[in-house]
Symmetry: D2
Subunit: 366 residues, 4 copies
């Protein structure tokens, strides 16, 4: 079924399996005239690569992106941008057991139920490598947004029980710690915690937070295409995400109206809010304050402990997963959350261009 396309005007279509020839994305609807190079995209892709530290898988993935179309003389032409990353270091030999057994926590069983069979090598289409296309498209979206003063920042908020501390927030640490935490102390603790998980043949989950600054008021639509609804879809569509929060999120259920409403006030002539429990969205439309969201990520389902399962022949059995698996998905998923947020915001920005006669008159002087 055709579920590989997302967006109305900024529309991305991803393809590829972990052990096929490669993976990629078509970015259609990028406005013409944006300076863009492979390097802009590579910087984002490198953020989802496994690191050198103990907590990341030691396999080497070059993941070098090739731009196949849509750029001319260093600028986007408005036509589809096709991006390709060849698979290079995949070992199909590792995956014979998976062909037979349904791994708990994975999509093996559901793929078989849906399609009758599946590409079992490395998770196939449901592999984490599927996010390569998302991140490449996100890099371009983020570059367009930056031209309008919109910037994004995502980071690991917690891994298992270890959370960052607001007072120690250090943005530089996001790219420098193996956990993508903006708090070096918390990161060190999280590394220790993950080392324990690994020695127990186990894995851990965590929380990713993403904030967007500079988003103008007015993006998003009032009913089904609410900005928060589309962010929820975009982020929940990342494998392993099991909950999405906007602003205060789950805490709102314990608030009162008097503590949850954000009063308006003036800052010079600008209308602003005195607080931001809403996470920058009111009635599905951006309100000009910071957009804030959180994704809750489940533990890596691939663990080395033996697990009960059933095989394709319908017999009960046990599986002990081998190979190279990160004990936590969170650090590498940070840039994926940031990318999905960028993609969603850019599409809302483009779609909003026709919202009022005034906008259109700025383009088409009648």
């Amino acid at each position: 079924m055709a579920g590989s396309t997302l967006g109305i005007i900024y529309r991305i279509t991803t393809w590829g399996e972990s052990h096929g020839a490669g993976l990629g994305v078509i970015v259609d609807g990028c406005p013409a005239g944006l300076p863009l190079s492979a390097n802009d995209i590579q910087l984002y892709l490198d953020r989802r690569k496994p690191g050198q530290s103990r907590i990341a898988t030691p396999r080497r993935e070059a993941d070098e992106v090739e731009i196949l179309s849509g750029i001319f003389e260093g600028k986007t032409t408005g036509t589809p941008i096709s991006l390709l990353v060849r698979n290079t270091s995949q070992h199909s030999g590792d995956y014979t057991e998976i062909a037979e057994c349904y791994r708990p926590g994975h999509a093996d069983y559901t793929f078989d139920q849906k399609y009758g069979f599946r590409d079992y090598r490395g998770g196939g289409r449901s592999s984490g490598r599927e996010t390569i296309g998302r991140v490449a498209a996100g890099a371009i979206a983020a570059k367009v947004l930056k031209e309008f003063g919109i910037t994004l920042c995502a980071y690991t908020k917690s891994i298992g029980p270890i959370s960052i501390h607001p007072d120690s927030f250090d943005p530089a640490a996001i790219l420098e710690t193996p956990t993508a935490m903006p708090d070096r102390d918390a990161s060190a603790q999280a590394e220790k915690f993950l080392a324990d998980c690994m020695s127990n043949y186990d894995s851990a989950g965590g929380v990713i937070e993403c904030v967007a600054d500079g988003v103008p008021a007015g993006l998003g639509d009032p009913v089904f295409e609410k900005l928060d609804a589309n962010l929820a879809k975009a982020v929940m569509s990342i494998g392993a995400v099991k909950a999405v929060e906007i602003g205060d999120g789950i805490e709102v259920s314990m608030h009162h109206g008097s503590t949850n409403n954000d009063p308006f006030r003036l800052e010079g002539k600008q209308i602003v809010k005195s607080s931001n429990h809403a996470g920058g969205i009111l009635g599905g439309i951006s309100d000009g304050s910071q957009i804030i969201l959180r994704a809750h990520v489940k533990p890596t389902p691939s663990i080395f402990s033996p697990q009960d399962t059933v095989n394709r022949e319908g017999k009960e059995t046990q599986i002990s997963i081998k190979g190279r698996h990160d004990p936590v998905i969170v650090p590498r998923a940070v840039v994926v959350v940031e990318s999905m947020t960028a993609i969603t915001l850019l599409d809302a920005l483009l779609v909003n261009a026709g919202a009022k006669m005034e906008h259109l008159k700025a383009i088409y002087k009648s």
Copy 2:
């Protein structure tokens, strides 16, 4: 902008403002041959009406649905079903202050920013009455799903700090308590809690849970149209929802792989899971077990206490909201969550019909 349509094959388009002539929905893509009467829909609409108790607004809303098209001789014809609910008891006189001031927690400011002006009467398009179309479309979706053995049940899980107790779960109480809680004791406590909120001129939030039984394995797509992604969008698109969880939701970030994975086992010849932390979805595709989701709902933003705000002329001021407002949105939103879940599941069921050659051969014998 065009954000009033949802779904690929089962496609709904809602329209209407709280104080216009009425509200409604076009349901396009309902399979032909389903027996359907206005009463099937009215039963759902009645569940979102304000009750008689202290916790619901005393205004009377008849909300009687008229079927304008798409039914012939008591059955759906496959053509669009147009449903209309006339507005009857609206008092436009109450809303003059809102025309001037931006109510905190409402969409007044964002509508003005997006569209340049707004229908300020009763919230206009961002009123809670907008859900009438969703519930009407949900009633039809639920009826189709029932033909395939799929049933849904949504209820209030908590209001402020008061939660239902699993041991006291009584489904009959959902329709009988004013809180829509399936636990009469918790409901009584929640009513007391809400009475206190009201006497403080304040409001409260809560949590709605929805479970779907009988969903076959294989619904949903592996990438952007994941079943959980579409559920997240559908539920987050309900006004006042600030977080959506699937299965164990936010708790997964504290789990380990060994405790979060659901082992497979056999029940006779049927492959089942020994637990359901995943909430019935693996890799974006239903796994045949119960689908479970939760929506976190913010407190009613309309409170009687004075709040700081700014008016359209750009002056700081205070607003004390008058009129009739429920102290909690949750009980009336239960059927909306159930409806959005039904709509999403049915669309996934229809879209999945072309997933494999085997399906198609069952329809079009070659």
Copy 3:
């Protein structure tokens, strides 16, 4: 199935059957701030009403439109505009024979094959009354386009063998002749021709031409969403249209490159074309000259002569259609072609708003 919605940003959803409660349309995505009244729409609807002359059916259809939503203080709010036309003068009693037999040239058989049964009263969803929603949505689109200097004009070019003569072109005649021909002489001849058809219990076809002036260069997309491709779909989706031409249309197959290419030249500083064989579209994108298209309309399939057919029980039989039927569809379809053209052009205008960085910067000053 869900085929009642058209458009990306200016998105219309029609509903209704000829003998149900009514028909209507939801217009979603109309820019906010357009002055709009029911009268603007009624003027268009009145153009598709049957006239008083010999060539139009004598039945009276009031077809009064009610605006149910989306307008506040005389202007569009940006939220969906719901329009309703109640059916008033339908006589269900006339249609018993149709319930049994498949009328040649009608959709009776194909509806039964697709949906298993059908609303047989007056053609149900495939009735010509289905165009009410299109025309109502077209009236709004035309009003938006006018604000940008874009105007449309459709007319009958020929009925059977009688064509208008370019030298006698009189735009006023379009609304004044019963044939919608802009040539009073040709119209008189066509009336005579149609009177002959009627006396032979037969019907006739014809050609509708539509031109759009003032369309800026740059609308439409290079590949699947070519402006001509979308015009072709929009116009071919009108019942009874069997061919669509753009510019010189079918004649291009007999041309040479040297006679078919339109040379560019200057008019002051403006680049214009010396001819317009292309009908205003090059590579799927408007070129700033007049857009020209033609629709070829089949004869009314309902004729009074006896015709061979088969009934639902699978027996061969004859049918002689009774009731009130225009001998030609063309004059009433003129405004439908104009409406579909307007809808398509407006959607292209809105979608194009995000085509280049320069446009976006005019809206969102970075």
Copy 4:
């Protein structure tokens, strides 16, 4: 803008320019379980390659397709099929004059108007090479359709004034003649006619006809997604097509109801039509008889005679196009028309799977 995607369930997204790294297509929504090899696709691509004869350009285009994803163990997996054709024999040096001048009949001017600049090498995105993606996707669609007994056949019906003769119809000739005409005599005459065009530094147009056999009744939707409307869009979206006809097409305007209606009769127990003026579609829905359409193709706009035009600096000038250009587009476009027809029919087949409860019950036994 995002216009590179077509289809609802069988959804194709093309990308690439004539002188970029390559061109390709993502085919999303192909049902799982179809045997598919690169050779299946190559056979179609080879049909759009220039031939060896006088009437085709002498340049060699290998156009070898690589399958990058979506196939496992020789069968489609249901996930996106990414197809890549590298550009190999492009000479960018030939295109310096085009960078400066607007070629009449080409999209140079409109691209500049839309996007502000363009990839001028070989037409960029509006090159005929853009059809590579369409043909590759069409090959797959045709293979699926064949499993349901649906076959397609497209051919050249006329080139300039030379038409095939019904009595000489020889299907084998389609692949064997350089004109793709199913009539060897007509083909020989057309070759002579084209040789004359070439000696006059000129080009010619023509007509392509496509017929589909075995299409079951019931495909297509009654309103905007009529099967003929979607065929018209798909075919008109091919560059150079200026008119599309269904069945008797433009001739219907000269018919009477009595001669244009197709009577129903029985063939054994099967309901069939005694004639097929409608081209297999009634009310937008297939009627079980042969689907017939025609595309009218303009003369190649690239001609060697000097033409008046304007350059980017806004000065009037003349252009004499150099390089290798076919004197007629028609023979190479035949497989493109066949492909777009296949893509549209398959999408209609998949979308129709959810049209009635009966279909769904065949898949999901309740």
